[in-house]
Amino acid sequence: MNCKLCTQKAIIDSPSYCKKHFLKYVEQTAKQTIKKYDLLKRSDKVCVAVSGGKDSITLLYILKQLKYDVEALAIDEGIKNYRDETLAFLKRFCKKHKIKLIIKSFEKEVGKRLDKIVKTGNPACTICGTFRRSLLNKYTKNYDKIATGHNLDDEAQAVLMNLLKAQKSLYDRQGPKTGKRKGFTQKIKPLYFLKEKEIMIYSILMNFDVPFTECPYAKDSFRAYVRDELNLLETQKPGTKKNILLKYLKNKSAEKNKLELSFCPLCGEPCAEEICNSCRIRKTLGLIA
């Protein structure tokens, strides 16, 4: 099969592109998403939330290439034989591309490594996600935007997960960017329309040499089940994932999030209840009084 734009051999089937045109397609798709959904202004100071995986590395690289003012923030959850390797890679990558990298750890910020928290029978993904979101918001107050590497697969999964759990408020908050709310740094997702597979191919062709890692706690998550089912559907009916997002965006409720927010008396972060979720978990775990 040849590239649909030239006579070179295609390296991917759908869309069928050669290496050169595929790289251009990925960069153009991210650029168009930024433009269409008004994700970034030239003057914005952007913090890219990085894990050291292919998605966040690709995002960091593309935003830097597009000459945005970017810095990177990584969260070290404290997961043995997983995070150490990706953090070492991140340090090398950021040094090579002259990007400032900030690392915050659960151990210092929360009081315990995730491995230790999970040992006492606590649900890894819920706790990890809550702490990560809280730290990400806490340390990005001086930035205009937080850019995350969420891709088309992640987002289609999130739409389905929220539907299956009937979480209307979360369902309504999906999309290429979050709304602006006091106390929150706005989050943007420039890779929203790129498939996980496309980002993987991009990172291979660019020789990023991203270490292959899978979080040991992710395997049994609800997301993993939704992902597998969605992948099955996509092979039987190509385009399913993109259609989910296009239809979601078309029908998305324009209703603003009316949830009243205050600020957590313990940490100062925004919260919907008496204290924020992160402090509530820390209290339950005995990490704060």
Partner: protein, 64 residues
Amino acid sequence: MKVFIEKQNKKVKFVFEGTGTALIKKLKYNSEEVLVIKNGELVSLDEKLTNKDTIKIISIISGG
């Protein structure tokens, strides 16, 4: 054909001639979840693979 499955760090050897899609099916993978590297180069799934080829199967799924 020599096949290295990266995720399982496993090497297998068997007789096979056909496309990347057929190989993925034989190995019981989903084409959304893996990539085929033929003799060190990424190839599209309609690429013909022969017994002389060295194949690497890369998993796309990761959790960050």
